[in-house]
C-alpha cells in the first residue's frame, strides 16, 4: 500500500487550504432525496453552498414550474436508441441539493440515450441542450449496455437559467466517454448534477468543459456497481470577468479493486473571475485494492481573479493500492513569459504558449478531436480578450 498526499497550495491569499472541516463520512450521510422539501432554500452559509453566489440562483431555488421547456435532443449512429422516458426510469441519480430535486420534479420526462449491449460506436452521439432565455429543467439519461463502447457529447448552450440532471450508467465491461460542454451566454446560469454508476470491469471517462455562463455549478458523483471499475474524471474551465465556475466531485469507492483518477485544470482571467473546485474521495472500509488520485490546478492570469480548491481524501481501509491528492493554484509566471520573449516570441503569442502548455496534458487526455479543437479555439479567443483588456487598462493608466 502506498498513500501519497501532495498538497501544494501556492498563492495563499487566493486559495483555501486543503481539507474541509466536515469529514466525508458525514458527507456521504448528507441527505439525498427526490423530495424538494428535504432541502431548505440555501442561504450561502451551508458547507455545500459557501463558495456559491446563492443570490444569483434565487429563481432556481424556487419550487415552481419552469417558464420554458429547454430544447433537448440527440442525434447519433442508428443503433443508438434515443427516446423520451418517464423521469424515474433509471434512478441512478438521487438529488443531493434543492435545485436538483426541483429539476427532477419539474421535468416531466427524461431523454434517454441508450447504447445497446456490445455495440461499438464509431461515431459520437451528440446531445444538444439549449436554454431559450427563461427558467427551465432538463433530465438526461445515458446508458451504455454491457460490453458496449461509445462516446456521448452533451453541448449546453443558451441564455436562460437551467437546472439539469444527468444520469449515467455504464454496464459491465462497457467503455463509455461522456463529454459535457457548458458554453451558455454570458448571463446564463447552469446548475447540474451528474451521477454515474460504473459496472463491473467497466470504464467511464467523464469530461467537463466549462467555458461560458455567469454561474455554472456542477456536482459530479460516481460510484461503482462492482469490482474492477475505472473512472476517469477530467475537467477544463476558463473563467473570465464576472464568471463563476464551480465543480464538485464525489468519488465513492465501495467496491473492491476500482480505480479513479480525477484531473481538473482551470484558468482565470479578469476581475471577479471565480472558480471553485471541491474534490471528495471516500474509500470505504470494503473498498480494498482501490487506486485513486485527484489533482486540481489553477492558473490565475490576472489580478482580481480567485480560485478556491479543496481536495478531500478519506480512507477507511489500509488495504489499498494507492491514494493521493494534490491541489495548486499559481499565478501566471512572468519568468516564463520573459524567457519566451527573450527568444523573439511576441508577448501575446508567448502568453498563449504558456497557457496552452498549462492545459496541454489534460487536453491530450480528453482525446476527442472535435472537443479539443473547439477548446483550443475558445481558449485563444479568451486570451485575446484578456490581452485586449489589459491593453486598455494600461492605456487608462497612461502607460
Amino acid at each position: 500500500m502506498s498513500t501519497e498526499t501532495l498538497v501544494a497550495t501556492g498563492n495563499k491569499a487566493h486559495s483555501h487550504g486543503p481539507g474541509s472541516p466536515v469529514p466525508l463520512q458525514a458527507r456521504s450521510e448528507r441527505p439525498t432525496s427526490y423530495d424538494v422539501d428535504v432541502f431548505p432554500v440555501p442561504n450561502g452559509r451551508e458547507e455545500e453552498w459557501r463558495f456559491t453566489p446563492v443570490k444569483a440562483l434565487k429563481a432556481l431555488f424556487e419550487d415552481a414550474e419552469g417558464t420554458e421547456t429547454p430544447k433537448i435532443d440527440a442525434t447519433g449512429p442508428e443503433r443508438v436508441e434515443i427516446e423520451t422516458v418517464v423521469a424515474d426510469a433509471l434512478k441512478v441519480l438521487t438529488p443531493q441539493d434543492r435545485p436538483s430535486a426541483i429539476a427532477w420534479k419539474r421535468s416531466a420526462s427524461a431523454l434517454a440515450v441508450r447504447i445497446p449491449n456490445e455495440a461499438e460506436l464509431t461515431e459520437p452521439v451528440h446531445v444538444n441542450v439549449a436554454s431559450l432565455g427563461g427558467r427551465g429543467f432538463t433530465h438526461l439519461i445515458v446508458e451504455a449496455g454491457r460490453h458496449s463502447r461509445g462516446l456521448v457529447i452533451i453541448d449546453h448552450t443558451g441564455a436562460g437559467e437551467l437546472s439539469g440532471n444527468v444520469e449515467i450508467k455504464v454496464g459491465d465491461g462497457a467503455e463509455l466517454r461522456v463529454v459535457s460542454i457548458q458554453q451558455g451566454d454570458h448571463e446564463s446560469i447552469h446548475l447540474a448534477q451528474h451521477d454515474s454508476v460504473v459496472g463491473r470491469d467497466a470504464k467511464l471517462k467523464h469530461v467537463v468543459v466549462t467555458l461560458g455562463g455567469k454561474v455554472v455549478r456542477i456536482n459530479a458523483n460516481v460510484r461503482y456497481a462492482g469490482p474492477g471499475g475505472d473512472a476517469e474524471f477530467l475537467g477544463v474551465y476558463f473563467a473570465e470577468s464576472g464568471q463563476h465556475h464551480e465543480h464538485r466531485l464525489f468519488v465513492d469507492h465501495e467496491a473492491t479493486n476500482c480505480k479513479s483518477n480525477v484531473l481538473y485544470k482551470g484558468a482565470l482571467a479578469g476581475d471577479d473571475a471565480r472558480s471553485v473546485w471541491i474534490g471528495d474521495v471516500l474509500i470505504r472500509a470494503a473498498a480494498e485494492g482501490t487506486d485513486t488520485f485527484e489533482l486540481n490546478r489553477n492558473l490565475v492570469l490576472t489580478e482580481g481573479a480567485r480560485a478556491d480548491s479543496v481536495p478531500n481524501l478519506e480512507i477507511e481501509t489500509g488495504e489499498i493500492e494507492g491514494a493521493g491528492h494534490a491541489s495548486a493554484t499559481g499565478r501566471f509566471d512572468d519568468e516564463q513569459l520573459f524567457y519566451l520573449q527573450a527568444r523573439g516570441i511576441p508577448e501575446d503569442a508567448a502568453r498563449r504558449l504558456v497557457v496552452a502548455g498549462f492545459f496541454n496534458d489534460i487536453i491530450g487526455k480528453i482525446g476527442v478531436p472535435e472537443v479539443v479543437d473547439h477548446l483550443h479555439e475558445v481558449i485563444e479567443a479568451k486570451l485575446a480578450r484578456t490581452a485586449q483588456l489589459s491593453e486598455s487598462a494600461k492605456a487608462a493608466l497612461g502607460q
Partner: protein, 253 residues
Amino acid sequence: MATLEIRDLQVSVDTEAGPKQILRGVDLTIAGGQTHAIMGPNGSGKSTLAYSIAGHPKYNITGGTVTLDGEDVLDMSVDERARAGLFLAMQYPVEVPGVSVANFLRTAKTAIDGEAPKLRTWVKDVNTALASLEMDPEFATRNVNEGFSGGEKKRHEIVQLELLDPKIAILDETDSGLDIDALKIVSTGVNRFAEKGDKGVLLITHYTRILRYIKPDFVHVFVDGRVAEEGGPELADELEANGYERFLKAAAK
C-alpha cells in the same frame, strides 16, 4: 559590423526598502568578431547587466544608453531585442511546462526570421544542433527545460544560440554547473558560433576555467556594479593566480 554599445548604464531594482542601485555606470562596446569576458565576484551585478540588456522587467534603467548598430535597445520590448539580434543564455533557464522543445524552437525561429522555417531542413537543423551539443534527439519532444539537469539546461541554451543565430550573444555563467566534458561541448558550440564571423560574444563568468576553451579578446573585471579594470587575456591569468582581492580592496576605498 554588428556593434553593441553600452554607455554609462545605471540600473536599480525595487526592494522593500526602496530602490537599490546595482549598476553604477557601465561602459562596454562589443563589436562583431570579438569575444569579451566579464569576470566578477558574486553579487557584483553581472546578471543584472545581462538581464538589463535583454529587457527583464525587474530592472529599472535609471541612466545611460544601450544601442545595437545604433538602434536604441532600451526602447525595445524584450522580444524586439531578440529579433534585433540579441541573445541571452540565462544563468537559470526557465521551465515552461507543457510546451515541447520542438514547438518552442520552431515558434522562436519563426518569430526571429519573420517566416516559418522550411519543414524538411528545419527538423534536420534541430537534430544537428542537438547532436552537436550531445543531446539526444528525444529532447525535442520533452517540455522546455522541465526536468532537465543543470548541465542539460545550459546545453539547451547553446542549442538555441546555434539555431537562432543572433548578432550578439550574452552568456551568463553558461559554464557554471557543467562538468569538464559538458564544458568542452558547450565551449565548442560557442566557438562555432563566434567563428561564423561578425558575431559578438559577451561571456559572463565567475571562474577562469571556461577561458581555457573560449579565448577572449578582452577581459573586464566587474566589481560593485561597474567595470573596475580592463585588459587582454592576461588579466584572466592574473585573476586565476590572485583572485578578486585587489579589485575588491580598490572598490572599498
